[in-house]
């Protein structure tokens, strides 16, 4: 038997979609281990979010509602979550391996002498033992892991699960935890926040994405992609090579270490299709590749392929679509 505690990130009483994914993963893990599913919610709004967590599958919910937790602050969040892990007497702590998870998981595991696994996308039970599945080697392979310690902290890769579905009729206890939090533990402080000045649709939410890579040869190529994206009502993305070259901001990056996207249409232009890039588009519906090298690995992931210099195709495509879509909408 293993009880599972899920750290469900909330803001103003609302659960994030990563949190709902973690709830889906955590409750199915608890079910297969004959254990209980609990959630921990922290910060102002925790009480409201606790009800939500129960509606989304937790059997009970712990709350830590301190004004100190209003903003994310790594040292305070570590104290709060690790105390909740201890007090809930769970053996498995599940949290999303998102921006915060990347700060927290290794440290929570070290504090609790637990095993840590990150980027987990699935699990299976073999002969009573849980095997956790995670992509490795830049998504070229999958690895199955078992844990060697009594406790474990499991980080779920965002967008790898369907978020849990809501059921108003579910009930469960809400248990406020008294935890002594002290500002004295704070060592890292937020000095400045720079919101990216992205115009238009967020990559993660875009239905159509036009992405460019090193094959564009320079920042000017992205003007062409921008024009195409405008006609399509989509967003512009990029490979890491294009971001590292400074042609577009890092926030454009799609892939293992960039945005994980699941658009209806993904057009990859001058992108070779490295496994780390493809890792970000696993759930894209239709993939179109435009590349002058017919051997490029991107064509193994693409549904539609065009072997040509992108400059001879993209402006013409933008023009053709403008015309056709104009005709279509009447």
């Amino acid at each position: 038997m293993a009880n599972v505690l899920i750290y469900a990130n909330q803001q103003g009483g609302n659960l994030s979609s990563n949190a709902r994914e973690a709830l889906a993963f955590g409750s199915s893990l608890a079910r297969s281990a004959n254990g209980e599913t609990a959630a921990v919610l922290i910060g102002p709004g925790a009480g409201t979010a606790a009800k939500e967590a129960i509606a989304f599958g937790a059997e009970k919910a712990y709350t830590i509602d301190s004004p100190l937790l209003a903003q994310y602050q790594v040292e305070l969040y570590l104290d709060a979550i690790s105390e909740a892990f201890e007090k809930s007497q769970s053996t498995i702590l599940v949290l999303p391996f998102d921006r915060k998870g990347k700060d927290l998981i290794g440290r929570l595991a070290t504090r609790s002498s637990a095993s840590a696994l990150t980027e987990v996308i699935d699990f299976k039970v073999e002969e009573g033992t849980v095997h956790y599945v995670r992509p490795i080697y830049g998504d070229k392979a999958y690895g199955e892991y078992t844990i060697n310690r009594k406790k474990a902290v499991i980080g779920i890769r965002p967008k790898s699960h369907e978020p849990a579905s809501r059921d108003e009729n579910r009930t469960g206890d809400i248990i406020p935890l008294k935890i002594d939090l002290s500002e004295e533990v704070i060592v890292s402080t937020l000095a400045e926040k720079i919101e990216s000045a992205l115009s238009g649709v967020r990559l993660e939410d875009a239905r159509i994405i036009v992405s460019g890579g090193r094959g564009l040869g320079g920042p000017e190529g992205f003007d062409e992609l921008e024009a195409l994206a405008n006609v399509l009502g989509g967003a512009v993305g990029a490979s890491r090579a294009a971001c590292d070259a400074g042609w577009v901001p890092t926030s454009f990056q799609v892939g293992q270490t960039g945005a994980v996207v699941a658009p209806d249409l993904y057009i990859a232009v001058g992108i070779s299709g490295a496994s780390q890039h493809l890792s970000g588009i696993t759930n894209a519906k239709t993939v179109v590749a435009i590349n002058h090298d017919s051997e490029a690995p991107i064509f193994k992931r693409a549904n539609l392929g065009v072997v040509a210099d992108y400059m001879s195709v993209i402006p013409a495509l933008t023009k053709a679509l403008k015309k056709r879509m104009g005709v279509n909408t009447g």
């Binding site: 790594v74 998102d98 990347k102 927290l104 998981i105 290794g106 440290r107 595991a109 070290t110 504090r111 637990a114 095993s115 840590a116 990150t118 095997h131 490795i136 080697y137 830049g138 070229k140 392979a141 999958y142 690895g143 199955e144 892991y145 078992t146 844990i147 060697n148 310690r149 060592v187 890292s188 937020l190 000095a191 400045e192 926040k193 720079i194 990216s196 590292d244 890092t250 293992q256 270490t257 249409l265 490295a274 493809l278 993939v287 017919s294 690995p297 064509f299 992931r301 549904n303 539609l304 392929g305 065009v306 040509a308 210099d309 001879s312 195709v313 013409a316 023009k319 056709r324 279509n328």
Partner: protein, 264 residues
């Protein structure tokens, strides 16, 4: 100011998928055709460390690698980047270490140096991709950790890190000593070492340490997870190639196909 940068040797992450095979006996990639290289984010961390040192009078960079004899290559490379000192820790029985065990051993190694003002690691190693070593190191050393930093600056006793945030960037201030995990950016593109520095790096010493030189906790040195099985998933898609004489013809064909798809 003493900067320690942790470097790992990994299978070349840019190896095309068609050459990537898993040996079912060992659960490891067949390294017959692949090069072993310095982990990519660790290389960004190394570049960051060297740039920082060059801005601060009297600062030094120690390159630290936990690995067998073959991984000396990454330390030679660090020396060719002009790192001041190179240290390799290894014990033959450390076969299947995971990020947590590595974090513990590296922390003890850094303590054996008398500590460091700055510890830099890559954000995530390009082979097993745990993203754990930096945060574990920080916890083991009892110092702060800032993850996903793309730029570092020192202002008096404060370290300033520009980091990826949920929607843009943030600047985090921490006092020294601290651990930073580094991501790639246009500011830390690894340099091409000078021929002279490559030559010099060959004759520089690499210090070697073993378990006995460190106060290691046998328990924490045990891997916390076990890799049971590795396989290559089949994800190939059948691609329909468009035909056409020239760009405009291909473009028109593609436009037609996209309209058919009804996603527009």
């Amino acid at each position: 100011m003493h900067i320690v940068v942790c470097l790992k040797q990994v299978l070349d992450p840019e190896l095309p998928p068609r050459y990537f095979k898993i040996d079912p006996e060992t659960n490891r990639p067949d390294d017959g055709v692949a090069d072993m290289v310095m982990d990519s984010y660790a290389e960004n961390a190394l570049e960051t460390a060297i740039q920082l040192r060059d801005k601060i009078g009297g600062a030094t960079v120690t390159a630290l690698c936990l690995g067998d004899e073959d991984s000396e290559d990454v330390l030679r490379r660090a020396l060719s980047f002009t790192a001041d000192r190179a240290v390799r820790v290894w014990e033959d029985e450390w076969e299947n270490l995971d990020g947590q065990a590595v974090g513990h051993i590296l922390a003890r190694t850094i303590q054996s140096f008398g500590g460091a003002d700055l510890v830099l690691t890559g954000y995530q190693a390009s082979d097993i991709e745990e993203g754990l070593v930096g945060p574990v190191l920080a916890e083991e050393l009892g110092i702060p950790c800032v993850t996903l930093a793309s730029e570092l600056a020192v202002e008096g006793s404060i370290l300033k890190a520009t980091c990826e945030a949920e929607n843009g960037y943030q600047v985090i201030d921490v006092p020294s000593p601290a651990v930073f995990t580094i991501v790639s950016s246009e500011k830390n593109v690894p340099r091409l070492p000078k021929v002279k520095d490559i030559r010099l790096s060959r004759s520089k010493p690499i210090e070697e340490l073993e378990a006995d030189d460190l106060e290691i906790d046998a328990e924490r040195c045990q891997p916390a997870v076990a890799l049971r099985k590795v396989y290559v998933p089949d994800r190939e898609v059948a691609c329909e190639f468009l035909v056409g004489e020239d760009g405009p013809e291909l473009a028109s064909g593609l436009a037609g196909k996209l309209m058919e798809l009804k996603v527009l």
